[in-house]
């Protein structure tokens, strides 16, 4: 009886997740094997037509490696930009930490549409950056900053940087400062301490940060749509196009699942390459 009362605490959430996460994902999986049809989302019976359609048309198939590349580059940019910041916050005096933390988290408080919009204002041909450079006489024609991979990666890196900094910060802060002091006492210089102690010890943070940013980046819709102006075709954009605009549910589902499985493989390879033996 006591146990039953305790289980009531978790029952609603368990039901929610099962009904509205597990079952719907099963539905997608089944949908991807449905037969295509004209004039309605899907036809009778099952087939692998959706998958065949995706892999046989280079327009669609090639978007997959391109999307993966976009995700990987975004992760790397986030790591390069985020690491010094995380290190800074981790070692900053307490009274500054709150403010710096706030700056890092601030993008999260602003909707993804607004943030992407901000980038279009900055990167457009008549945008802040191009106008400033032109007024300074540094360039004659506007630089192509938007509607290309560069702009999309930059905006994605901005949107997801907090998701890199937070795990990095967590792993840097759990590391006992005495370990660094121990390394110094054993004769290591500051740079050596960083390379041999701090960096390896923050590996769990690097790992989870990169995976998080990668997954978020390849599945994002608004940023590539607004900053890329539909000219950078990511698989996610194509999926939404197939499902919502073209009403081809089996094809869209097959594409979405292929994307998810590919992402899973990339993540697994990455986790394998950066395997941590000591934790």
């Amino acid at each position: 009886m006591k146990r039953a009362r305790i289980l009531m605490l978790i029952a609603p959430v368990a039901a929610l997740i099962f009904l509205f996460i597990v079952l719907p994902y099963v539905t997608v999986l089944m949908m991807s094997f449905r037969a295509p049809a004209e004039g309605q989302p899907y036809g009778a019976g099952f087939s692998v037509e959706g998958y065949r359609q995706f892999f046989s048309q280079s327009y669609y198939a090639l978007s997959l490696p391109q999307t993966m590349g976009l995700g990987i580059v975004t992760s790397l940019v986030c790591l390069l930009l985020g690491y010094p910041v995380a290190l800074h916050i981790a070692t900053a005096p307490k009274r500054w930490r709150g403010l710096l933390y706030g700056i890092v988290l601030s993008p999260l408080l602003v909707g993804i549409v607004v943030r992407s919009y901000g980038w279009t204002i900055l990167l457009g041909n008549a945008g802040v950056i191009n106008t400033t450079l032109r007024n300074l006489g540094l360039i004659e024609r506007p630089l192509p900053l938007m509607y290309n991979e560069f702009g999309v990666v930059l905006a994605l890196a901005h949107v997801f940087l907090p998701f890199m900094v937070l795990p990095l910060l967590a792993s840097l802060q759990t590391a006992d400062p005495a370990v660094r002091q121990a390394a110094r006492s054993l004769g290591a210089g500051r740079f050596t301490v960083f390379r041999r102690v701090t960096l390896p010890m923050s590996m769990p943070g690097i790992q989870s940060g990169c995976i998080l940013v990668f997954v978020l980046a390849i599945s994002s819709y608004v940023t590539p749509a607004l900053v890329g102006g539909m000219r950078v075709k990511t698989t996610t954009l194509l999926v939404v196009d197939a499902l919502i605009d073209q009403f081809q549910w089996p094809f869209g589902s097959a594409m979405a699942l292929t994307l998810a499985v590919s992402a899973g493989i990339v993540v697994l390879i990455f986790a394998r390459l950066t395997r941590i033996r000591w934790s």
């Binding site: 959430v13 997740i17 900055l122 607004l226």
Partner: protein, 258 residues
């Protein structure tokens, strides 16, 4: 070696600028007096805020988003707190499974979850009618944030306080209301604020599941931005940023930083 430290400081400063720039730029753009998003702005004016205030589409969208966020947050707060209580106090071997299950909506790509929900609701014959799918999606997206925050505030706590209250004569309910609830209130407040902001800003779920009729603010803004470049969108964005700031500030004042 002597050059490394200043270079690093410069890089850091640039990252902080990079983080803030798009937000600052949106706010500045909303004060532009000109007809288009030009730079430098053609004078300062609040005219785009007036345009926006007279635009029913955006006002409706903001009201709609606020109501949706409030309802989704309320449901998430109750369910997420219950799950957190179970996870911290009672879960044993199944603890990790519970944690992953509750965090699934956060781990899985939002757009894929949205599509999955769309199909599922069509399969059971409801589709996007009555906004049920949309609401469910928002509850799912906000649940992990309540769970994470309440879990954190519970984990730092001594379980025995509730037992102590019981030995002093408090019933299970009284002990929860007088002891546990005040202790997790800051965690619930932070989780609630997070949940509200996530719901208010989330795109993928709303985009796929909105159905016909009025749409939440991010969708309305996105539709507008695809074809328009007036500073009105910047004014709308600024208002949405301000709303978020007010919410965070008020909750900080009420519950303190935890």
């Amino acid at each position: 070696m002597g050059l490394v430290t200043p270079l690093l400081s410069l890089l850091r400063a640039l990252v902080y600028v990079f983080l803030l720039a798009p937000i600052v730029v949106v706010v500045l753009a909303s004060l532009n007096a000109g007809n288009f998003l030009t730079f430098p702005p053609q004078g300062l004016s609040l005219r785009w805020f007036w345009t926006f205030l007279n635009n029913d589409v955006f006002i409706d969208a903001i009201v709609y988003s606020l109501i949706l966020a409030a309802l989704a947050t309320a449901v998430s707060l109750v369910l997420g707190t219950m799950a957190a209580l179970y996870f911290v106090r009672h879960a044993r071997r199944e603890a990790e499974a519970v944690r992953i299950a509750v965090l699934l909506p956060l781990i899985l790509p939002e757009i894929l979850t949205a599509i999955a929900l769309l199909f599922f609701f069509y399969e059971i014959g409801i589709g996007t009618q009555y906004k049920i799918a949309l609401f469910t999606g928002h509850v799912l997206m906000t649940l992990p944030f309540v769970f994470l925050n309440v879990t954190t505030s519970l984990q730092g706590r001594d379980d025995a306080v509730e037992l102590a209250a019981r030995t002093l004569g408090a019933s299970r309910l009284t002990a929860f209301r007088r002891i546990t609830l005040p202790l997790i209130a800051p965690g619930m407040a932070t989780g609630g604020v997070f949940a509200f902001i996530i719901s208010f800003d989330t795109f993928g779920i709303s985009f796929i599941l909105k159905g016909t009729g009025s749409a939440p603010l991010p969708i309305q803004l996105y539709d507008y931005l695809r074809f328009n470049f007036t500073p009105e969108a910047a004014a709308v964005s600024t208002v949405s940023i301000l709303l978020t700031l007010v919410l965070v500030t008020v909750s900080n004042m009420l519950f303190g930083r935890d």
